[in-house]
């Protein structure tokens, strides 16, 4: 057999279409019969809808329908939590369209469906909307002061408090040094280059819905949509096409994921919605707006004894499908790769009149890593210790693995760090940037820029979550078709999974085809998030490959009159001990499809260190990254 493909730099197969502009993103799907949907969004952050008159808009030639909460029937469905659901969060779920109250700029109020997007946009201007404004809750302080309540029935803007606990951080630490400060991280959003989009078709005769533009977790989206529409799950196909960036934002269930399919069924016409950039910035998940007050408690020798404090998450207006993850992670992963025996961090999650938030690139970790690493720098200064020495002293060693981390309230699951050599990545990082060489530059002002050099260590979860599934099928043309639940979000999935498949089967990549991410390919599958596709989808494929090879050996044994374990498999061939040979293609009819599954419910943690050398222009605030 040739050298394994896994581990080799391979030119990606998806590039061949993407480089030629021949990919197929959602808006590229030809659908001349489709109506276009555009959405009337709230121009106000908080208010009560006092008038919504669609009559004039409805009369515009080309307008087919204007869908409001009334069309859907009140109360309209809400979007459930996909991850870490809790009964107490249900009241804060987002309704698929505003009913009587709007809670953020961008919240859908009506959807116009017309023969073209241009006409639908003209119609938006004709809808008469009046909103009686309520005080807008913008900051966490506003939310706590509660000049207005987003959900008056709940009596507070505090949606939930997550607590992370390990040991006893409340105890006295005699003689210890306490370093404390306030921190904050600003809002970010994914701003993928391709905005969101959907194309839904309803087949009335079959009672069947097809939704193009699914991504990330199509099976979960299908389950939610089926429940909301009162359909059987298997009456809905979610089809994934090329995706112009995911970053955690895309593929969660948003209001439009209900509205567009609803409209297609309601009107019995295909409906396409392509988000524009302005709507994307207003309505796709935001992330990372946190503040915190934290205390790090250390022995005079520099051993971290405890951390305690409070973080606050500016959640935005609703608890969206994956919104619980970042506030949980901020509390749970504060300790990162360090030994912190006593932890008490609470995260208050505040509802505000801003765009709702969700996961985005290492949710919660970006925030809490900054809080921690900054505290460590402050502590080093206070102790008069070198920043690297302080970090190295407190990194968990491989001998101390597995090492428990804080447990977060609701839903409770004990977690531990499984393995790793954290000091090694720190040392390699310092070596790579030339840490010692850069130290004299620290704090210097050169050509108007103040130079800064810093290093931080982190861990990052991945490769876990719900089971992933795959199926391999040997065709009469000798090709093996690989079906997998992992979905493509622009990360090169096809090449990676074909490398794995090719190695597992001993076939060249050209003999394999990959089909991924659409619910039509597998009865159950899951998807791509939490850095999981290579491990979860890849291992499901490995397991399926083992089954397929057994089936090929059995079929070849029958054909070649030998025992299955005497069959020697080559690249598309099977040979018996006396040298008789049969091609896989000839065995296809006798080789059943091979399913594979992989489960890993134990979280595992990758790790690393990051150093940077930057220059800040004090006059303009401009930051230049030197290294």
């Amino acid at each position: 057999m040739n050298a394994p493909l896994v581990g080799q730099p391979i030119e990606r197969i998806e590039d061949l279409r993407l480089l030629r502009g021949a990919g197929c993103f959602t808006d590229d799907i030809a659908a001349p019969d489709a109506l276009a949907a555009v959405i009337l969004r709230s121009p106000l952050a908080h208010g009560l809808i006092t008038r919504l008159d669609t009559e004039a808009a409805q009369k515009l030639p080309g307008v087919v329908s204007i869908i409001t909460a009334r069309t859907i029937g009140m109360p309209v469905p809400t979007i459930p939590l996909r991850l870490a659901p809790l009964a107490e969060l249900v009241p804060y779920e987002q309704p698929v369209i505003a009913q009587d109250r709007v809670r953020y700029v961008g919240e859908p109020i009506a959807m116009v469906v017309a023969t073209s997007a241009a006409i639908a946009e003209d119609a938006l201007d004709l809808i008469e909307l009046e909103i009686a404004p309520l005080p807008a809750i913008v900051t966490n302080d506003d939310a706590a002061a509660a000049a207005a309540l987003l959900f008056p029935d709940s009596g507070s803007n505090l949606c939930i408090t997550y607590t992370a606990r390990l040991g006893d951080a409340a105890q006295e630490f005699p003689g210890a040094i306490i370093v404390e400060d306030d921190f904050s991280t600003q809002r970010h959003t994914a701003a993928t280059m391709e905005t969101r989009g959907l194309l839904a078709r309803w087949d009335a005769a079959r009672g069947h819905l097809t939704v193009h533009g699914a991504a990330k977790a199509p099976w979960a989206g299908r389950r939610m949509l089926a429940r909301q529409l009162g359909l059987d799950e298997f009456s809905i196909d979610m089809i994934a096409v090329d995706v112009g960036g995911g970053f955690g934002m895309r593929g969660e269930f948003y209001p439009e994921d209900f509205l567009v399919p609803f409209a297609a069924r309601h009107l019995d016409r295909p409906v396409k919605w392509i988000e524009d950039r302005r709507e994307h910035l207003l309505s796709a998940n935001h992330a990372r707006e946190f503040d915190a007050h934290l205390q790090l408690i250390l022995s005079p020798a520099g051993d971290i004894l405890a951390v305690r404090g409070r973080a606050r998450c500016n959640l935005g207006a609703y608890m969206r499908a994956n919104a619980s993850i970042a506030p949980r992670n901020v509390a749970q992963f504060f300790s990162g790769p360090y030994r912190i025996p006593n932890i008490a961090i609470d995260t208050d999650v505040f509802l505000t009149n801003k765009t709702p938030t969700g996961t985005y690139r290492g949710p919660g970790r970006f925030e809490t890593d900054f809080f921690r690493e900054r505290l460590l720098d402050l502590a080093a200064e206070r102790l008069g210790m070198d920043r690297v020495v302080l970090r190295r002293r407190n990194l968990i060693t491989s001998a101390q693995m597995p090492h428990p981390i804080a447990t977060v309230s609701a839903p409770v699951k004990a977690e531990e760090l499984d393995s790793g050599d954290y000091a090694e990545t720190l040392d390699r990082c310092l070596g790579a940037i030339g840490w010692d060489r850069l130290q004299p530059l620290r704090g210097q002002r050169i050509n108007g820029r103040h130079h800064g050099v810093a290093v931080g260590c982190f861990i990052e979860g991945g490769a876990a979550g719900p089971s992933e599934h795959a199926r391999l099928e040997l065709g009469a043309d000798g090709m093996v078709d690989v079906f997998v639940g992992s979905s493509m979000v622009g990360q090169g999935l096809e090449t990676v999974l074909l490398q794995i498949s090719a190695d597992a089967l001993g076939l060249p990549m050209e003999r394999l085809r990959i089909f991924h991410g659409s619910t039509t390919y597998l009865r159950i599958g899951f998807g791509s998030f939490h850095s999981r596709s290579t491990v979860m989808g890849g291992t499901a494929i490995l397991n399926a490959a083992t089954t397929l090879k057994e089936a090929i050996r059995a079929a070849a044994g029958r054909r070649l009159n030998c025992a299955p374990d005497e069959v020697l498999l080559g690249a598309g061939t099977a040979t018996n001990p006396s040298g008789a040979i049969v091609n896989w293609a000839e065995l296809a009819a006798d080789v059943p499809a091979a399913p594979g599954q992989f489960d890993n419910h134990t979280h595992t943690y990758a790790y690393g260190a990051h150093a940077a050398h930057v220059g800040v222009d004090i006059a303009t605030g401009h930051v230049e990254i030197f290294d």
């Binding site: 030119e11 993407l18 480089l19 990919g23 112009g244």
Partner: protein
């Protein structure tokens, strides 16, 4: 909505279109001609994904009305590609991992092609400057600059 007739050249072929006066060129290319390789990332002139060649110059097709294309020669990513082999720029992008999701890629390639056609010796700063109007959320740009630098050789040879 009344339409206006326009005649132009698209990827070398004489093309007639009847378009509403308010239709932007990007929509006409994508919807009327099915040339979906030209991507619309913002429709506001900010991202460069919709870049095409208008008489050889890189322009944003979202900032032009289709009717303004009358009498002009348009080249899209499809016109810069062929089914048999990747072009030098495409091959360099592939080699350097200069794309992930690929949504920005057609705009990058078209812009880089305009630059290297005019200036095959463009240095890294010039390339960076020319591509500064094209946004990419996946790659971090370094690999894109490396790919364009690498593709220069083919353009230099073509000139010679």
């Amino acid at each position: 909505m009344p339409t206006l007739p326009i005649d132009c050249t698209v990827n070398g072929a004489a093309t007639h279109l009847d378009v509403a006066p308010r239709t932007i060129l990007a929509d006409a290319l994508r919807q009327d001609l099915g040339l979906t390789g030209t991507h619309v990332g913002c429709a506001h002139g900010s991202c460069g994904a919709c870049t095409i060649l208008l008489d050889g110059a890189a322009v944003r097709s979202c900032l032009m009305l289709a009717v303004q294309a009358a009498g002009h020669a348009i080249t899209t990513i499809e016109g810069l590609s062929n089914p048999d082999a990747l072009t030098p720029l495409q091959a360099a992008f592939r080699k350097h991992g200069a794309l992930q999701c690929g949504f920005c890629t057609p705009g990058m390639i078209v812009t880089a092609h305009a630059l290297l056609s005019a200036n095959p010796d463009a240095d890294a700063d010039t390339i960076r400057d020319m591509l500064s109007g094209n946004l990419c959320r996946c790659t971090g740009y370094i690999s894109i600059i490396e790919a364009v630098l690498d593709a220069r050789a083919a353009y230099q040879e073509a000139r010679a």
